[in-house]
Symmetry: C2
Subunit: 311 residues, 2 copies
């Protein structure tokens, strides 16, 4: 297992995008700033999707401008990442100061066509070309394979299809690669096997994992991924999330639950768990319903309670 696990918070993007109630920009800035201050390494602030398609993401450009403009007050040390779907999105991302560009291709033909109007092969070519431009523009870049462990439409997704996309990434020199369980189908043995095969493609690969907790195996899958050598865990505060274009998908694994489990093992004790719990309670109260994470409801186990802020 990697000595220092990297925590990539995707709640402000993957979590919020499915919420009908649009959070005001100021509210998002409060959450994003607090997530960074709590010690997370990367925070995904938004997605460069068409504003009419996902109104929750309409303020993405403004968010990045306010987060990264020269002279902006930086809270914490997180890098701000943004999801880019196409070349037009990359232009927007580069113009508003995105620090880490995330792009992906679905390994499922059906999901790919529903999401992008393109089949997997065409989408891979386009995304690789766009990712290379982002690299040329000096940005950190992460490329992902979505529906890597199964698809809400197609069911099983052949591992060879996932690895073929990953090979295209590696061939283009794109070595920061995330495998995303978009519909939440992954199970731990599959996770360990597929990440093992991914990491065999090139010794330089830095792998990330992204799991939804649809069937209750989210944290088990995180654990299996870390065992396999994954460096970065993507998660959402409070367990927000889901994918509007798959049939069944629960939220991402909850950031504070992941941090709690890691800290129980003595890892990432630098992260302020009490602060993460506050932010998760804040988002729960904003949307007025119970969010799926556990630790924001229970508080930390007694072994970790020293970390709670004085009440």
């Amino acid at each position: 297992m990697t000595p220092r696990i990297v925590l990539h918070e995707v709640g402000p993007r993957d979590g919020l995008q499915v919420e009908k109630a649009v959070a005001p920009t100021e509210t998002k800035l409060r959450w994003i700033g607090a997530l960074s201050e709590a010690g997370l390494d990367v925070v995904q602030a938004g997605s460069f999707v068409h504003p009419e398609k996902v109104p929750q993401m309409a303020d993405t450009d403004e968010l990045f401008r306010r987060l990264t403009a020269p002279g902006a007050e930086r809270k914490g040390h997180a890098l701000y990442s943004g999801l880019v779907l196409n070349e037009k999105g990359l232009d927007r991302a580069l113009a508003c100061g995105v620090e880490m560009v995330c792009l992906g291709v679905s390994a499922s033909e059906t999901h790919s066509r529903k999401n992008t109007g393109m089949g997997v092969a065409e989408a891979t070519g386009r995304i690789v070309a766009t990712a290379k431009k982002a690299v040329e523009a000096g940005r950190k870049v992460q490329v992902s394979v979505q529906s890597a462990f199964g698809c809400g439409f197609e069911g099983a997704v052949p591992e060879e299809n996932v690895l073929a996309i990953a090979r295209s990434y590696v061939d283009a020199g794109l070595l920061t690669i995330s495998l995303a369980d978009t519909a939440g189908h992954a199970c731990p043995a599959q996770v360990e096997r597929l990440f093992g095969r991914l990491l065999e493609l090139d010794p330089g690969i830095e792998a990330a994992c992204h799991f939804h907790d649809t069937y209750g195996a989210g944290m088990a899958n995180v654990w299996a991924a870390l065992r396999a050598g994954v460096v970065t865990v993507e998660s959402s505060f409070a367990g927000l999330g889901g994918c509007p274009f798959t049939k069944v998908a629960a939220g991402n694994v909850a950031t504070e639950d992941v941090v709690h489990t890691l800290q129980r093992e003595g890892k990432r004790t630098d992260v302020d768990l009490a602060r993460l719990i506050e932010i998760a309670r804040d988002v729960e109260s904003f949307f007025g319903r119970e969010m799926p994470g556990r630790v924001h409801r229970t508080g930390p186990a007694p072994q970790l309670r020293k970390q709670e802020s004085p009440a």
Copy 2:
């Protein structure tokens, strides 16, 4: 990992004992029969606690009589287990036909005293003596260590204390041993390490695991336990459960979530997942609130949908 994982359903005992609304005996018989028919290997029907202390368990003797009496209509092939707290409980258990006697000691002094009025050393002596009588009476016996991964009152529980109790079991020839995460504190690395140490005590040990999902790591802990060589998984249908004598404890890991994850890996495909989902929905509707399991809400992933009963 063991070729055939044994599934021990503890919902009718560990799950129901925290519910204020007492389920009628006929309702319990419906659930227990259905859990057995679905293909689970052991179903824990009740606990021989004083009826006034836990009114939900007041019909335990009657339940076992009706489940196991000569001439009783057996549904499925499950063995019926019962939790025995003391010698008086064993007498009741032997009289009413319990097929597998489960007994345990808490590794936490505070939890042990609150639960039994005895310290760990005294409780261990009593439980070992009672367990030996159950063996002499020809019953299958499982002994457990409760609060094996942490305690709601004391926080960390030293592994040496857990292993000392386990050594007393082994010395008495009691080799079916469960480590129970009563308060839900376990994390996967701890689980793998502690079960590894347990299994080193004697090559004949058959280990079982029992996790509560308080902090979201329940399934990850199951996975870690199976990797360590655990044979039996204890779980509750719908994720029912908790412990009335600890401060914070969520339900057990949900049986149908465990089975779903195993079946996604090609294991225990003999179990009728659709039936388990029906039973979980039935108990949810009986208590009139959302239960913590996932799969009874989502249904199976498409890869497993062939198993759904025709609607």
